[in-house]
């Protein structure tokens, strides 16, 4: 079998933090900054950058404003500063703005970035407006906690034309009141949702979480350090999606798929994502025959009810 090679791409030379860098044409500044640790939130490795969160801004010489590293394509001769005073200031304030309005407690790395940039969200005062609201638990598979939503658009993109083409959710409202919503804020069970869970997969803050994870967090038993990850192949159909089973205390607590898998790109369907309970169902003990009862009918043996 021959694999067609993509046409060679021209290399672009630019300067990042004073050092010359050569990357293929069409790369983003983030690609070119390989070594530098630039925080990202709305960037997703499987999605087209939306550059809405602005936490990855860097300074490009000659540009009037800072530019988002996640989406701006490199140009020959660009001079990029990833941690200039100006870029660090914006990142700090963006983190403060987010942390003062959104619950970032389950956002991986957020606490570290806040410390690194010296962000103090409490300086906006105790009466600063937030997006606090009750958790939406309207189905058995996943939970929407929009008090944790930073409006990165990733779930909308994953549900819409970038992956799932289900279009169950969109952004509704405007400005600070904008939020991710089904039409008329209907419960998911009345929406177009097909429970593929691909929105949960891309959510960067834990605003969307599987019901299993949500319940365990509520109970205080969720412990990622105790979890193992095993990648296997979904047995439901012939596509052969890779599944990564997250197991804690011998129970599957979550199912994901590797983002670099050429079949799934991290996406699954409801069966692969949520249809795992049969694997760990404990077989009920064989019934002890009660002599006082009549003979069991043959139907019971096959599990069929008369």
């Amino acid at each position: 079998m021959t694999v067609p090679l993509p046409p060679p791409r021209r290399l672009i030379e630019l300067t990042v933090d004073g050092a010359p860098v050569r990357v293929p044409e069409g790369s983003t500044i983030l690609d070119a900054c390989g070594g530098a640790d630039i925080p990202t939130l709305c960037y997703g490795d499987t999605l087209t950058p939306k550059n809405a969160c602005r936490v990855c801004v860097v300074e490009v010489e000659g540009a009037r404003t800072l530019v988002p590293a996640c989406s701006r394509k490199v140009e020959a001769g660009m001079v990029v500063g990833t941690s200039t005073e100006r870029a660090r200031h914006s990142r700090k304030v963006v983190l403060e703005l987010l942390a003062s309005s959104v619950d970032l407690s389950t956002t991986p790395r957020a606490a570290g970035w806040m410390e690194e940039y010296g962000a103090r969200p409490d300086r906006f005062g105790t009466d600063a407006a937030t997006v606090e609201q009750p958790v939406k638990v309207d189905n058995d598979l996943y939970v929407r906690d929009y008090a944790k939503c930073i409006l990165c658009y990733k779930c909308v993109d994953a549900c819409g034309d970038q992956w799932q083409n289900t279009f169950a959710i969109g952004v509704a409202g405007r400005g600070f009141d904008a939020m991710i919503s089904t039409e008329y804020d209907a419960p998911l069970t009345d929406s177009a949702c097909v429970y593929c869970g691909n929105c949960v997969e891309v959510c960067p803050t834990g605003a969307l979480s599987f019901k299993s994870e949500f319940d365990m967090r509520e109970a205080g038993t969720w412990d990622e350090s105790q979890q193992t990850q095993t990648t296997t192949i979904c047995s439901y159909c012939g596509v052969g999606c890779n599944l990564t089973l997250h197991v804690q205390e011998n129970q599957i607590v979550k199912v994901s798929s590797p983002h670099d898998n050429p079949v799934t790109h991290g996406n699954l369907c409801i069966k692969g994502r949520f249809g795992y309970q049969h694997v760990q169902n404990v077989r009920p003990p064989s019934p002890v025959r009660d002599e006082s009862l009549p003979e069991p009918s043959p139907d019971l043996a096959t599990g069929l009810r008369p």
């Binding site: 809405a52 409006l151 279009f167 409202g173 919503s181």
Partner: protein, 625 residues
């Protein structure tokens, strides 16, 4: 696309309103009656989705007919256009003039924005609230209605088979019904504001009739409805000249004239035109940005109401020069009279062969379609306007790619402001070089200024670039001795001190003075105007109008308003620092110009006017503030 709809039925009226825009449904696939035939084929794919740009017009149609959009109506529109309901819901909730909740057919929009606030909008608001109750039902406070010369203003929009708009400016409070004057015979509640005939467009042009005017020369002189009048006064000579010059020649003249955009960004129009003309991808689109929403701006309204054919001719020339066959005129929904006059002008021009397949027998085909905004300042941003026309939420796109490369429907697009286009006619008639000799080296031609606030003669003034702010204010009747400040450029502009009135009104002159011309707003604020309230209104405006896409603007505008509220109660250094830090981040890291300029006016008020003098020592811990 396998979409799930809501199974809510539209009423007959809603169905008729949508069908009037989209045509009757061809089959049950498009929300029509189901027949035997429908079981034998599938429809609704690309063909229906290609009409996505009709989403906003369809939403408008229902809102105009009933005053609000019900679930059934939204569902029907979604079926007709194959739009997912969640997306359509997102689009409908984006615009402040569309309602998804039942409300009265007649809604009064009371302007509470800057120019009106400087002239007693608060009294109007209080009066209306006393009579009609809390906002949200039959009345709502509104951002700038573009009626600043007649401040305080209000606009009533009535839904119905023939939607009506009533302009109140200046709003006169009507006395309440009393036992003596009784309840009117028709049983309706007495009017809240006194209804008067809307004055003609030239009412806003104190210089009307002055022979030295260039852009405003026909306003008040030529009947805006008459194409013959327009032609008799030199109309369509510029288009003939354009045909002589050829497309490249026109671009050459515009470049030579040094024309720059009048919407606020001052980008060279010639360079924009040349870039689009050179793009091999087809079709090219022309978009005329008539979504004039910068608080205090009303020049485009006056141009469109007073000389609509000029805009039609200028758009035709722009399209000819840049190779566009289709032009969209995106006008804000708060301008019903301008919309009507332009619609009339376009229809007449089309009937007379000045738009259509073969303009003036030159084999050039071009037509204009009017698209109405629905209450969103952000849609005046040059890429948000594309999303709005295409039927998406009016959120700005990230640049690059720039509109000249990938604009409307992903094609090369010229976007120009109304006033910018109006300048094209004198440039072609005089020649680029002659035009460039007017004004200064860096700012050529004449400029329209929207003077409002505490001046005797507010209105649109036309002056060659280079006149000083003082000269302009003298034309408007001079300022009172207790002048406090002048806001240049609108909510996104900056304040000028009373001792700075000699700054030249040019792009370079205002820039050197740390100010901006912006869209030409000159809002005069005398000592009796509460500057803090003006600042709070500016902050509120940006908070309301932020689209919500990027964090610096979405949260930053809220934090800016909160800090200003605290400062207005108790000036303190901590909040000033906070404002500066948030402001700098909005300026540096926001996606579009709205967020980037949301802190300009507040910053200049703090620095130039010392609105929040900090008397107390700097607190040691800013958190405590």
């Amino acid at each position: 696309m396998d979409l799930r709809f809501r199974d809510a039925e539209p009423s007959a009226e809603e169905r008729a309103a949508v069908d009037a825009v989209l045509g009757a449904p061809a089959s049950s696939w498009h929300g029509g009656r189901r027949t035997e035939e429908d079981l034998r084929f599938a429809a609704g794919g690309h063909e229906a989705r290609e009409r996505r740009d009709l989403l906003l017009p369809a939403l408008h149609a229902v809102n105009d007919r009933l005053g609000w959009i019900s679930e059934g109506a939204l569902d029907y529109i979604c079926r007709r256009l194959t739009v997912p309901p969640a997306e359509a819901y997102g689009v409908a909730t984006f615009y402040s003039l569309l309602s998804l909740k039942p409300r009265p057919a007649r809604v009064l929009h009371v302007c509470t924005d800057l120019a009106c606030q400087a002239r007693g909008a608060e009294d109007v608001r209080r009066h209306v609230q006393e009579r009609l109750g809390p906002p949200g039902g039959s009345w709502m406070p509104s951002p700038c209605l573009g009626l600043c010369e007649r401040a305080p203003a209000a606009l009533a929009l009535s839904a119905g088979e023939t939607p009506e708009a009533t302009v109140y400016g200046p709003a006169e409070l009507a006395p309440a019904a009393s036992p003596s004057n009784g309840v009117p015979e028709d049983g309706h509640a007495p009017p809240v504001l006194v209804r008067r005939e809307e004055p003609a467009a030239e009412f806003a042009v104190p210089q009307a009739g002055d022979p030295s005017l260039v852009l405003l020369r026909r306003v008040g002189v030529v009947d805006p409805a008459s194409l013959d009048g327009y032609r008799a006064s030199g109309g369509y000579a510029a288009l003939r000249r354009a045909f002589q010059l050829g497309p490249l020649g026109v671009v050459q003249e515009i470049t030579e004239a040094g024309l720059v955009g009048r919407g606020g960004a001052a980008f060279p129009a010639g360079r924009k035109w040349a870039a689009v003309a050179a793009q091999p991808a087809r079709p090219h689109y022309l978009v005329c940005n008539a979504d004039e929403s910068e608080p205090g701006t009303f020049k485009d309204r006056v141009l469109m109401e007073g000389d609509p054919y000029a805009l039609v001719e200028a758009m035709t020339i722009a399209a000819y020069a840049t190779g566009c066959a289709k032009g969209y005129l995106y006008i804000r929904a708060e301008y019903p009279r301008a919309t009507g006059r332009l619609q009339h002008a376009i229809t007449t021009a089309r009937a007379r062969g000045l738009l259509g397949d073969d303009i003036l027998g030159q084999g050039f085909a071009f037509d204009i379609e009017i698209r109405r905004g629905a209450g969103a300042y952000i849609c005046g941003e040059e890429t948000a306007i594309f999303n709005s026309i295409e039927g998406y939420r009016g959120e700005p796109r990230s640049k690059p790619p720039f509109p000249v490369e990938k604009g409307l429907f992903g094609m090369p697009t010229v976007v120009n402001n109304v006033e910018t286009l109006a300048n094209v006619l004198p440039i072609l008639l005089k020649g680029g070089a002659a035009y460039a000799s007017i004004g200064t080296k860096g700012s050529t031609g004449t400029k329209l200024f929207c003077v409002s606030g505490s001046v005797p003669r507010p209105g649109v003034y036309e002056l060659p670039f280079g006149a000083s702010l003082r000269e302009l204010l003298d034309l408007a009747g001079g300022t009172s001795p207790d002048l406090r400040a002048v806001l240049l450029g609108g909510a996104a502009g900056s304040f000028v001190r009373p001792d700075d009135l000699d700054i030249p009104l040019t792009f370079e002159g205002t820039r050197a003075a740390g100010a901006t011309l912006g869209s030409g707003v000159v809002l005069v604020l005398s000592g009796d105007v509460d500057l803090t309230r003006i600042l709070l209104r500016i902050a509120e405006f940006f908070r309301d109008e932020s689209c919500g896409q990027c964090v610096p603007c979405r949260v930053g505008t809220v934090r800016q308003e909160e800090a200003l509220h605290r400062l207005s109660r108790d000036p303190n250094a901590g909040d000033l620092t906070l404002l500066r830090e948030v402001g700098q981040t909005m300026r540096d890291a926001s996606i579009c110009g709205l967020g980037q300029t949301a802190w300009n006016a507040v910053e200049s008020a703090i620095d130039q006017l010392s609105v929040f003098p900090v008397t107390r020592p700097v607190p040691s811990s800013p958190e405590a503030s």
